[in-house]
Symmetry: C2
Subunit: 286 residues, 2 copies
């Protein structure tokens, strides 16, 4: 069986660091394509380029991917231009731009840099012991069990028509921060819940690039529905996730000048922080 | 009078999007050059390129700058290669790489993307009213007055010899999180204090790129002194700062796998959040 995520983020080498992709309509939301899905396409192109350019280093895992969104993507053909910036012993950095042809002209959708390494090697015994001694590990929020949470796929059909993306996820929202779904936002700027992919594809480091942008914009919880275009999003993958339900939290702390930051944390089923991201996005115009 | 910051971050157009710079020895710390200073050099090159490429747009201010650090810079000649990725009505995005020649070979130090716009226009009356109605604005910590705080320039001379950087800043550390300076770290992973430049140069949007990386690594407060090399740092400038003392807070919440994230917030003298950053850095080896 091929999972949706693997099928839809596939890239094909086209020579000179170029990788072709097909942005699948299932990841569309409103007037664009989900940003996390696009990050995963970029991530797979970077991984392919590193496997080709520095095959012996084993730099297979994203540690940091920072993406500047320059125009809205649409479903259909796309390609990623990659260029190895520098490769060291522990990390390699690649410049990667996602483009789509519009009337025969290449239009950059996302300009990114990615630093990859090897997450298995990062977690050597010594550093984990040191971290345990320091005792600093951000803890997940306490949520009601998944069966008592609000399932995203239960959204009304007219909503799912503009957001087919909802069918890709098995998100269960914490009822305490899901009031926006029935017109009663908590106005705390917080959305959190359990996360898994709808077809139960296990999460891995690459899929975490998707997970950090998989919830609705946190502005929904501020009574500001509508699309919140991302200017920039940086994701850090901190560890490979254990199997099972993940917990995802999105939060904003400052809305000003028409912009807001959205911080995201992802914990795996064992309560370990596995990814963080922050994005700067445009406040919806209501 | 020319302030140190302006003199030392100056760039000179060298054609085809290249800008030459001279990394000044005053910003050296340990085996490298301060990251925030390098971000400011990158920022000035991006601003110069935008002034040249799209002069009518007025995209003079950094909104987001994300930087992947690929090797340690040294004092001396350097240059920034810039390339306009995309320019829209509100924002322009530029790719910018800082390089230094080593034995005649260009070595990339930092690979970055920057999205610039106009902060004065961002703060239109409507969006500020909306934000006020929402009531979300991260508040600064309460600190003792500057005169009761620990001045960074009071460090012992042998320490300042390896960190001439200390003389650039007028940082006053909150005594509650400055115990690391006398071997008694609080072990909370938090360093905060008042900030100004030593020569009292007023802070502006470009200088905030420096401020987000102007405190010692937060690992000092975890009993892990030593250099903490940055893998990636993204800064968001949220508003132009009012004159006077700024407040800066650095904090980490998760140390794992030999890496930690360091979040930074900067507030201006009126208590407004003016910049945020997050970096992923390597845990010092002690």
């Amino acid at each position: 069986m091929t999972f949706e995520f693997d099928r839809d983020t596939e890239v094909r080498a086209a020579g000179s660091g170029r990788y072709d992709a097909e942005l699948a309509p299932g990841w569309v939301v409103g007037g664009g394509v989900n940003g996390g899905y696009l990050l995963a396409v970029l991530g797979r192109a970077v991984a392919a380029e590193l496997a080709s350019a520095v095959p012996d280093k084993g730099h297979t895992d994203p540690f940091s991917l920072s993406a500047h969104f320059t125009s809205a993507s649409v479903a259909g053909p796309a390609y990623v231009e990659t260029r190895l910036v520098r490769s060291g012993g522990r990390f390699s950095t690649v410049a990667a731009t996602l483009l789509q042809e519009v009337d025969g002209t290449p239009v950059p959708r996302i300009a990114a840099h990615a630093t990859f390494g090897n997450l298995d090697r990062a977690h050597d015994a010594r550093s984990d012991l040191e971290a345990a001694a320091i005792g600093l590990a951000l803890q997940p929020p306490t949520l009601p069990p998944p069966e008592e949470c609000v399932e995203s796929r239960d959204a009304p059909p007219e909503f799912k028509k503009i957001a087919p993306l909802l069918d890709r996820f098995g998100t269960r929202f914490d009822p305490a921060s899901a009031g926006w779904a029935v017109g009663e936002p908590s106005r705390r700027g917080l959305i959190q819940g359990w996360f898994r992919l709808a077809d139960d594809r296990p999460l891995d480091a690459m899929a975490l690039l998707l997970v950090v942008d998989a919830l609705p914009p946190v502005t929904f919880d501020l009574g500001l529905p509508g699309w919140a275009p991302t200017l920039e999003l940086t994701a850090h993958v901190r560890a490979k996730p254990a199997p099972g339900w993940a917990i995802v939290r999105h939060q904003t702390r400052t809305v000003a000048g028409g912009l807001f930051e959205e911080d995201c944390e992802v914990w795996d089923a064992e309560g370990r922080l596995v990814a963080q991201s922050r994005q700067l996005a445009l406040q919806p115009r209501g």
